[in-house]
Point group: C2
Amino acid sequence: MTDLNPADANLAARLPEGVLRPVSDAYLDEPRGRLHGRAGLIAAPRSVEEVAAVVRACAEARVGIVPRGGGTGLVGGQVMPEGPLPLVLSLERMTAMRGIWPEENVLIAEAGMTLHAVREAATGAGRAFPLSLASQGTAAIGGCLSTNAGGVAALRHGTARALCLGVEAVLPDGSILRDLKRLRKDNTGYDLRDLLIGAEGSLGIITAAALRLIVPPAGVGTAMLEVPDPAAALSLLALAEGRLAGGVTSFELLSGQGMDFLRDTLPEVRLPLPQARWSVLLEVGLPEGLDPAQALEGLLVDAMERGLVRDGVIAQSGAQAREFWHLRESLPEANRRIGAIASHDISLPLSDIPGFIRDADVALRQGSDLRIHCFGHLGDGNLHYNLFPAKGRRREEYDGARKALTEQVHEMVMARGGSFSAEHGIGRLKVGDLARWGDPVRLQAMRAIKAALDPLGIMNPGAVLG
Amino acid sequence: MTDLNPADANLAARLPEGVLRPVSDAYLDEPRGRLHGRAGLIAAPRSVEEVAAVVRACAEARVGIVPRGGGTGLVGGQVMPEGPLPLVLSLERMTAMRGIWPEENVLIAEAGMTLHAVREAATGAGRAFPLSLASQGTAAIGGCLSTNAGGVAALRHGTARALCLGVEAVLPDGSILRDLKRLRKDNTGYDLRDLLIGAEGSLGIITAAALRLIVPPAGVGTAMLEVPDPAAALSLLALAEGRLAGGVTSFELLSGQGMDFLRDTLPEVRLPLPQARWSVLLEVGLPEGLDPAQALEGLLVDAMERGLVRDGVIAQSGAQAREFWHLRESLPEANRRIGAIASHDISLPLSDIPGFIRDADVALRQGSDLRIHCFGHLGDGNLHYNLFPAKGRRREEYDGARKALTEQVHEMVMARGGSFSAEHGIGRLKVGDLARWGDPVRLQAMRAIKAALDPLGIMNPGAVLG
């Protein structure tokens, strides 16, 4: 630590012993490489008390803090490329499971525990933690909560917010909020938990959380069903919900464009419905006494009679189900290899989705040869609506069009009462979108809360509100 | 309006035409008669714009506002017995359903719509709104949200907070937050919705809400099962959840004391398990292909083999199921007729419940002849733990002991990581409890938020934070 500037050296001397780490790229990147962070110091505290001590020292020194979990966020909330050098506060050493109560369906995890580790711990106790994301091997549970992560089972179990009973957090003044309750109901004042969840580290640092587990369903079934169009997919969802009493865990929309991308980039991925222009990956969790494959068979027959499904494959084994999911989870990698011009994480009222997909398709293709890959968590109204170069062209050729394309997509989404950030958050990449599209009254209230809790503005400066 | 004092007359003149109502007791009471409110003016605006105009006028005149829905709250949030005379803002004229989208499971209701009316509207469209409370005929949906109401189906569907997608609200400065989104996922900044929900009108007035509906399950089954003790009831819950894949909608604990109260006060209520010391009222909602009575039969046999259930009755008809629910819903009336010394709306970590019930029973009976009626939403860890006079004695004889008894109950609850207000909120009756038991860091953050959003302190003065 000999090459620190005097201000950082002064701050470093006031931190708990042994928390500093060498500054390295591992703490300064984000997955898509759009932003590169900077840092004066990297601190990796071992306890909530050490986190509080770091925050207090930063508050005194007026140094910004960028909290960092697994670093998998997609909107740059974990990297600060501009402004005075911040301290990056990594939760990597707070990885303990503080306790598990299978009989109450509760687990208390420290923020640095990976989502994968939380899921494994729950499974090891005969329970399940139903938050499920492609990046779960790296994503930390603290980051999942701070960004209110969504994923493929939110339809049934909600986003991260719905799976959290209580948090421990360090507030911007260094005080420790101890609210790790294992309670389903607690109406004793303002909902600070849900305020910290989704605040992307701009109101405090979540250091641990009491998480809600589930008893795994007796039977799980998985199917891929070809649908004539997105409207039929939505009718299929309603039909499935009616037949299965809330038993639909996942309902993912897949498109022919995605199949083409997989063929081109990951030819080893098997495609059960290779010709489908639109299809749905459906997972159900059902009670004892119902055979999941039979229940899905019944749904398939019913849906085909109604013209909602053209063809379908019901997984006959866990291996086949994993194969379906492998296809779904390979889509982001295929996208990466093709190279998007622009990606959009949007949500819409469910009944607006068919109209949006139709109209956006027409509007965006007008005078353009781009390819549209639209897929995602249809059951949640959450689409990943991504634009790609025509075959044989490079994304750079569209550099001049990128901004206008995103503007056009977001405009169509907002006109239909949708959201320009369904599950990824604001971070730094969508600060401009929030300023542009956010309700002014809402923004004013957010700024008032930020100023009240973080008057020095040291918590993740520039994130969310800019 | 001729008998107004000059200040109120001045304010009245600045309100939208026709919003004033005569001051009457109907706006000043609460169900248990513990507090009686006062008011300078009663206003019943017809639109969010009129609510905003009233709030702006009150802000200018520095007059406090007490929002009022159905007036069924149990902690005095709707009545202000002390301080400068407030304006009571009744939502009684905002009762429109603004829209319903059955295909997306969404309904938008104005705040004054009763919970019953919301439920009927959902049912009329082939859907269901799963919030269910004894007072639903009177309780307004705005009040249900402002107090984050719980009820008998929170185990499966969550409290009011979990059933709300977006709100329209008037903030303390009279600005209108327009956030009536019909989206499942929207990560665009701080969670103001959940901050307003449960704030009991102290941060703003919810004027409308986008509510989440469900597709009703194909089959519903209801049973009353006698259990040896509360610990067995909890094991039964875990067994049922494992067998039924999250299909348990309600799991209510009933006690022999409650049966005795019903015998004494409402002898017409039929008791299916008249001798049971502890029993459970269980409701399940199941997929097509499973007969609910058969599924409950299977659970009953399994549970009896494990020694978790001694006896049971499975409803063979809707009429019988309603009879079981009638019993459950008659308990509050029986309690009223007996006359409680003290009532407690507590929650505990599930695995602490048997120990709490055992220890509290011993502690409270020491040197006392009181009767304990412990019942409630066991699946949520939420008990109504109420103390009654010995048979033949009057509650007034225990007046001197009341405060110490409540203190003792809350102390035992808090020592086990529980809550002194699980579903009723703070209102005015539990302000002292919040100050006493609330985490100081949490209270400080709450006060900072209150000061930031309501610097004049006009929104429900004295509620929640005192």
